[in-house]
């Protein structure tokens, strides 16, 4: 399994965490924000079964599971003015009322994780105002407190929050793996460009594997 983990194998299954990024209604369900922008959610929807499978593997093996959700406080005090402006000009601004409640606002229906891959009791959900799960959150503190050394990062979108979390995880000393078949972007060319950048030179920030590689690596941990 040397090709799955970037550098070393976790000491035990509990040292590895599956991190599921932003599988929210606003990003990957009909009636969510991306759908209301008139963009195609078929790419982000298409990975739901694979993400569910990765969750099953992790839960069965005793890996820690973290979920993230991108969104802002109802008073929008954590929303940068340029982020609000860009999304408004794009068609529907963060904080504005839409078909699934206020866009990317905590507590609204669109902010919730889609039911197919919802968090189970006991799993940690990190609510984040930025793209990176490490920006303005206690994610790093929580991982360190739990003794996590390895991150498997999946979810949406690959070109934005997934690669941001993967690369920031590397920078903070975590061994990071992305499962290519468990992540997607709204636009396929952006997904492909991101994967090529992450795979270059054998993976400068971590490794890129897939569901089958994850299953085998987890079995080896228990072997």
């Amino acid at each position: 399994m040397t090709t799955f983990w970037p550098c070393t194998t976790p000491e035990k299954p509990g040292k590895a965490a599956l991190v599921v990024i932003d599988m929210q209604v606003d990003f990957c369900a009909p009636g969510g924000w991306v759908d209301q922008l008139g963009e195609d959610v078929s790419n982000t929807r298409s990975v739901i079964p694979a993400v569910a499978e990765a969750l099953t593997i992790a839960r069965d093996a005793g890996l820690a599971v973290y979920h993230t959700r991108e969104g802002h406080k109802p008073d929008l005090s954590d929303l940068p003015a340029n982020k609000q402006w860009r999304t408004r000009v794009h068609g529907l601004g963060i904080g504005d009322e839409g078909a699934s409640g206020r866009i990317l606002v905590r507590g609204e229906p669109g902010f919730e994780i889609v039911p197919e891959v919802a968090a189970l009791p006991g799993e940690t959900v990190i609510d984040k105002p930025g793209k990176s799960s490490f920006h303005a959150t206690d994610f790093d503190d929580r991982l360190k407190a739990a003794g996590i050394t390895h991150l498997i990062v999946i979810g949406v979108t690959s070109d934005c929050c997934v690669q941001s979390t993967f690369r920031d995880g590397f920078e903070r000393g975590y061994e990071c793996v992305i499962l290519e078949d468990c992540t997607a972007a709204v636009e396929t060319p952006n997904h492909q460009a991101t994967m090529e950048i992450l795979k270059a030179f054998g993976g400068r920030w971590g490794t890129v594997s897939d569901l089958a590689g994850f299953r085998a690596a987890v079995e080896a941990l228990h072997g």
Binding site: N82, T87, F170, F201, R204
Partner: protein, 211 residues
């Protein structure tokens, strides 16, 4: 009274988003233009553009900030893995105080330009850069860097999460391949500026020179 500069017809929108930028609230960020990196990427043309940006920014009274990446003294296992792959990794990280680690002299940096040292790609991580900018009420960042998908993107991405209004200068950046350069900047501008905006240097230089 500081005169505002003209807006930049950037991709995907006229930068900055609210039209407000001047020598009082903006800075030029020059990332990783070190001798070894310029050589590894054959980035002499991009270095020349970065030098023109430095010169124009200085003349217009815009703060010029440089970042320099170097190997940390204690490497994490993952960083050690990367260091061990050495020259094959495309954008090697040089030990501090070696000639390869030094900032390129051709940049013509002002002698009092602040320099931020970092071990990874992101010039904000574990440096005082954000504090430096906030103390001076800087809100707009003009970025140039090597490589595009490395230091430039990681730093612009972090700045964007922090709320800075960013513009990457495409001809003052170079990737480890042309495809990675183009692909990364495409992602930057996606969705009306997911990570900010992109423009060529001539526009920024013209705006600075007109001040």
């Amino acid at each position: 009274m500081v005169e505002p500069f003209a807006g930049i017809a950037a991709n995907p929108y006229s930068w900055p988003f609210d039209g407000r930028w001047s020598a009082d609230d903006s800075a030029l960020l020059i990332l990783g233009f070190q001798n070894g990196m310029v050589a590894a990427l054959d980035a002499e043309p991009e270095l020349a553009v970065a030098a023109r940006l430095v010169s124009a920014a200085q003349a217009a009274g815009l703060p010029v900030i440089a970042s320099r990446r170097g190997r940390a003294e204690t490497l994490s296992p993952v960083a050690a893995r990367r260091a061990a792959t050495g020259a094959d990794v495309g954008d090697p990280i040089f030990p501090p105080r070696t000639p390869e680690w030094q900032l390129a002299e051709a940049l013509g940096l002002p002698s009092d330009a602040p320099v931020f040292d970092h071990a990874g790609d992101n010039a904000f991580y574990s440096t005082g850069l954000e504090t430096w900018l906030r103390q001076r009420a800087i809100r707009n960042l003009v970025l140039a860097g090597l490589p595009t998908e490395g230091l430039l993107h990681a730093t612009q991405r972090a700045a964007n999460d922090m709320g800075f209004e960013c513009i990457a200068i495409s001809d003052a950046c170079k990737g480890t391949t042309e495809e990675r350069h183009t692909g990364q900047l495409r992602v930057t501008a996606f969705g009306n500026g997911l990570f900010g905006t992109v423009a060529r240097s001539d526009q920024i230089i013209a705006a600075l020179n007109a001040s």
